[in-house]
């Protein structure tokens, strides 16, 4: 009669000498399977907590950006104290029809929702940009947009720089800039994240009366209303900020959206 006890093969396996080839393979498999369970279990269980952390961090950064703009906290209290989140279709310059903030992450995992950039267009060194972006709008009591908060990103000297740009109601004046992620050289390029440097963006104008985008990080001290002081020893990082702002405010970035807001169509 065959032995039906399921423990028997297990005991037989354990009794095998350690140098037996089958045992080596089975042990390797069992240890890997156990470790796989451990790792994927931890990742799956902890993912929601991590996502909540990231969202809270983004929110805190937005709030500190808004709080740093003069007169903004009063406006926030008037309008109910929070920003509206909108997902926009970048090419059309209006709210995306079928993508919501909740489904944005899933939509951006599909390569069909990305547009690759030709080298001439690709000022920010991104390679490709998403078709949808999540922005934040603050409206005054009449329903007019008083502040638009736009996430931007671009290649820096050591890696990607992520930032949040706030524009005033005229869509031509910077209300503030916050760096949310950078890996520039500490002490040089990394000074872009210092509040003292970021504070000079407040009130900087983007385009002149003819509509030409003139914003730049100067080499050395700023020369006109469209420039901010450069960082000595970090020319590549300073240039990256210039190009990143120019790209995202240009026709491939938020240009269509900004035009729509200016036409009061948004």
């Amino acid at each position: 009669m065959a032995d039906m006890n399921p423990l028997t093969p297990w005991r037989r396996l354990l009794a095998l000498p350690n140098e037996n080839r089958a045992k080596i393979l089975i042990m390797a498999f069992l240890v890997s399977a156990f470790c796989t369970l451990l790792v994927s279990g931890a990742t799956v269980i902890l993912r929601p907590v991590q996502l909540a952390n990231q969202a809270a961090e983004q929110q805190a950064r937005l709030e500190s950006l808004v709080a740093g703009i003069p007169g903004m906290s009063g406006l926030l209290k008037q309008t109910g104290g929070s920003l509206r989140t909108v997902v926009i279709d970048l090419a059309r310059g209006r709210a995306a029809a079928d993508v919501t903030p909740e489904t944005l992450a899933a939509a951006l995992e599909e390569s069909a929702n990305w547009t690759s950039l030709s080298p001439a267009d690709d000022l920010a060194g991104l390679g490709s940009r998403p078709n949808y972006a999540q922005i934040y709008l603050l409206r005054d009591t009449d329903g007019d947009i008083s502040l638009a908060i736009l996430p931007i990103s671009g290649a820096g000297y050591n890696g990607l720089i992520d930032a949040i740009l706030a524009l005033k109601a005229d869509m031509n004046t910077i209300a503030g800039l916050a760096i949310s992620n950078q890996s520039e050289t500490p002490g040089l390029g990394a000074r872009i994240a210092e509040p003292a440097w970021l504070s000079q963006f407040r009130g900087i104008r983007l385009a002149d009366d003819s509509g030409k985008l003139r914003f730049a990080v100067a080499r050395g001290a700023a020369g006109n209303d469209y420039e901010v002081d450069g960082i000595t020893g970090a020319t590549r990082t300073s240039n990256a900020i210039t190009r990143m702002v120019q790209f995202w405010l240009g026709p491939k970035g938020y240009g269509p959206l900004i035009a729509a807001i200016k036409r009061r169509e948004f």
Binding site: L14, N20, K23, I24, M27, C35, V39, L46, N53
Partner: protein, 220 residues
């Protein structure tokens, strides 16, 4: 296992057999994460948890680890534990996790962990293995926290975030030593610590590997 043996397994690695200052193991992370006490504490706790859990798991299967793949098995267990710890830190201590950046993942390659599992846990029953691992984890933690405290105190004038010395910026008289926040200072401090311990406990002093050549007065 007698009580004194248990105690010595646990206490020996603190100073007498300290993995960092005597065996000079795991100093990469000891240099990188000791700019403040908080990061040093979290790093120490992570390493101690990983080393104790790895000791337990490896000790449990010690009779069935094929010799040919024993290092692979140990590393895969350690690496999985490190990933789990890293995920926990990212979920519950996101700020500190960002400061520790890649160094939590690098616990995997910390020679201290593999050294203990390979030389002790693999050959001993679970309880002594875990005690030995705990002792070594605490020995590592002790060094990290001492260096972290010195660097934070003199580099930023604070301890665990509380301002102890008022810096010049805040209107006080203490000028922070910026060197303390850079990696080389950890080398100096670690060297000073090793020297201090070996002065107090002379048997830790290693024999010279090379003797300096004697000066010959009438060389031809």
């Amino acid at each position: 296992m007698s009580r004194t043996a248990i105690l010595s397994t646990l206490v020996d690695p603190l100073i007498r057999q300290n993995p960092v200052t005597l065996q000079i193991l795991g100093i990469c992370s000891a240099l990188a994460v000791t700019t403040s006490v908080a990061t040093a504490l979290v790093m120490s706790a992570s390493l101690t948890v990983v080393i104790v859990m790895a000791a337990l798991m490896i000790s449990l299967i010690r009779h069935h680890i094929p010799n040919a793949i024993r290092l692979i098995i140990q590393i895969i267990i350690i690496a999985s534990l490190v990933i789990v710890i890293d995920q926990c830190l990212q979920a519950y201590l996101p700020d500190i996790s960002r400061k520790l950046s890649v160094f939590v993942s690098l616990i995997t390659t910390n020679c201290l962990v593999l050294g203990r599992t390979e030389s002790f846990s693999r050959l001993n029953p679970p309880l002594p293995a875990m005690l030995d691992a705990l002792g070594n984890g605490l020995g590592y933690s002790l060094v990290l926290i001492v260096i972290g405290a010195i660097r934070e105190l003199f580099g930023a004038g604070s301890l665990l975030g509380y301002q102890v010395l008022t810096t010049v910026d805040q209107g006080g008289s203490f000028t922070p030593l910026n060197l303390m926040l850079l990696a080389p200072s950890a080398f100096f401090l670690l060297g000073g610590l090793v020297w201090a311990i070996r002065t107090v406990v002379p048997e830790q002093t290693e024999e010279l590997e090379h003797t300096p050549p004697e000066m010959e007065a009438n060389r031809e």
